[in-house]
């Protein structure tokens, strides 16, 4: 069980490392968010799961709650932040022709 927990924690740390590399290397804000949110959520959840499985922690139930909250709230926060990024006219890579910005009814006034 301890070995399984260590493997999960190692995988989670690797996912977080990949997310951070994507955060540094990718060209615009939404692509960086894609890397930080998906790989970051998975990495953090794996680290907490591994920490619960090692058996070193006396009361691991709150770790389960933390994983549930992370899985619910991190994508939700990223959705809010992504919408705000678009509305705030952040320059995006490869977005020359943007029909959403010309659509008056969308409520996303970009131009």
């Amino acid at each position: 069980m301890t070995v399984l927990g260590l493997i999960l924690m190692g995988a989670g740390v690797l996912f977080l490392l990949v997310a951070a590399i994507g955060l540094v290397r990718l060209p615009d804000a939404l692509q960086r968010m894609h890397s930080a949110t998906k790989a970051g959520t998975l990495g953090t959840a794996l680290v907490i799961l591994g920490a619960m499985l090692t058996g070193e922690v006396a009361r691991p139930q709150s770790g389960l709650l933390a994983i549930i909250f992370l899985l619910v709230t991190l994508p939700l926060g990223a959705q809010l932040l992504g919408r705000a990024t678009y509305v705030a006219r952040t320059p995006l890579e490869g977005l020359e022709d943007d029909p959403l910005a010309e659509d008056e009814g969308s409520g996303l006034t970009r131009k």
Binding site: L23, A58, L81, A84, T90
Partner: protein, 91 residues
Amino acid sequence: MAFDLSAIVWGMMAMLCLVTGLAAWRMLRGPTSADRFVAFDMLTAVAVAFSALIAVASGRSGFLDVALVLSLVNFVATAAFALFLERKTRS
């Protein structure tokens, strides 16, 4: 036990320090404020992972509660930042 558990966990924490450095670089550098908020989101996720690792290294289960509270605060902070960014451009 054939291996030293806390030494491995400390090694993982050293790797997370590198992750923190990369995210902090993006936060300092980030050309737009959206980049900074994304980096902030990532930094709190790393802090949650850190506290889970500390819970294993020290054997205190209270650090898992810290992880839970940090993940809640992270959501509120991200929502507030998104609202702020949207209001700032609307007005």
